[in-house]
């Protein structure tokens, strides 16, 4: 846990260095059973990887920086009967985390999805438009603090970050430095 962590009600951090692996397989195939997470949900596995059911028959795996080869290997080791593709998209996507109580005020300025607990509880994952950019959103609360991971095409990253800062200005948004463990992944 970073000692510099701010207590502000709204914080933003660039988490782009995290490993990101994109997996495609049958929606209800063998690999799906092995990954154990359905479309629309995210769970953390025993290796500290956040497994996100990002689309029907699609998964996004977020893991500590530099761990792409192991993550890919682990998925490829599953002997699925159906065609499976595993693509390391670490370089292809930008990742931002916003945290704090005021995230529920910020996100509705840029995204049309209902952020209430009944629609998008902790562990919910969905893909929608955020500030007009196609974005994977994962609600990933930590220690009772609301928190969201936002994942988009890399080239839009700077724009999305700026748009979130602009939207958060009225709530006093603070920028946090990236720490590899601030994704709540176990060391």
């Amino acid at each position: 846990m970073s000692a510099r962590r701010s207590l502000a009600n709204l914080r933003i951090a660039d988490c782009t260095p995290l490993t990101k692996v994109f997996v495609q397989a049958f929606e209800k195939g063998m690999l799906a059973r092995d990954l154990g997470v359905e479309f629309g949900r995210a769970v953390r596995d025993e290796n500290g990887t956040l497994r996100i059911g990002s689309g029907p028959g699609e998964w996004l795996l977020l893991a500590p920086p530099g761990s792409a080869p192991e993550v890919v290997e682990r998925v490829e080791a599953v002997r699925a009967e159906e065609p499976v593709s595993v693509v390391d998209v670490t370089h292809g996507r930008a990742l931002v985390r916003i945290s704090g109580a005021k995230t529920v005020d910020l996100l509705p300025k840029v995204c049309g999805i209902d952020m209430s607990d009944s629609i998008t509880p902790d562990g919910a994952a969905f893909r929608s438009s955020v500030a007009k950019v196609l974005t994977d959103v994962v609600r990933d609360d930590g220690e009772g603090t609301r928190s969201y991971l936002l994942h988009c095409e890399r080239s839009f990253g700077q724009y999305l970050f700026d748009a979130l800062l602009d939207a958060g200005e009225e709530f006093g948004i603070e920028i946090e430095g990236f720490a590899s463990n601030n994704s709540r992944s176990p060391e």
């Binding site: 049958f26 929606e27 209800k28 479309f39 629309g40 689309g55 029907p56 028959g57 049309g112 969905f126 893909r127 929608s128 438009s129 196609l134």
Partner: protein
């Protein structure tokens, strides 16, 4: 803005989708006449009422699906996956 019930993601704002036109059947390209082929390209039913059409969930699951929509009220009564897709992806 109308809500379109995406068969994967649930109801979403229509602005997340791309309308991909009336559902149509592609003629056999090796046995088609110019008239048949161009009817496939250009002629529309364009009803004022229920129509079957294709949509793409562009800022969502990025899947195509079929919807039955009323073109006067914009009410959507059914959305479903392309039939073949369901079988091959079970």
């Amino acid at each position: 803005m109308i809500l379109l019930p995406c068969p994967h993601c649930g109801p979403r704002n229509a602005s997340e989708f791309r309308y991909a036109g009336e559902a149509s059947t592609r003629p056999d390209p090796n046995a088609t006449t110019p008239e048949e082929w161009r009817a496939y390209l250009y002629i529309k039913n364009n009803p004022a009422g229920w129509t079957t059409e294709k949509w793409f969930h562009r800022t969502g699951c990025r899947r195509y699906f079929t919807a039955e929509r009323h073109t006067v009220t914009n009410e959507v009564r059914e959305t479903r996956l392309p039939a073949a897709r369901l079988e091959s992806n079970s």
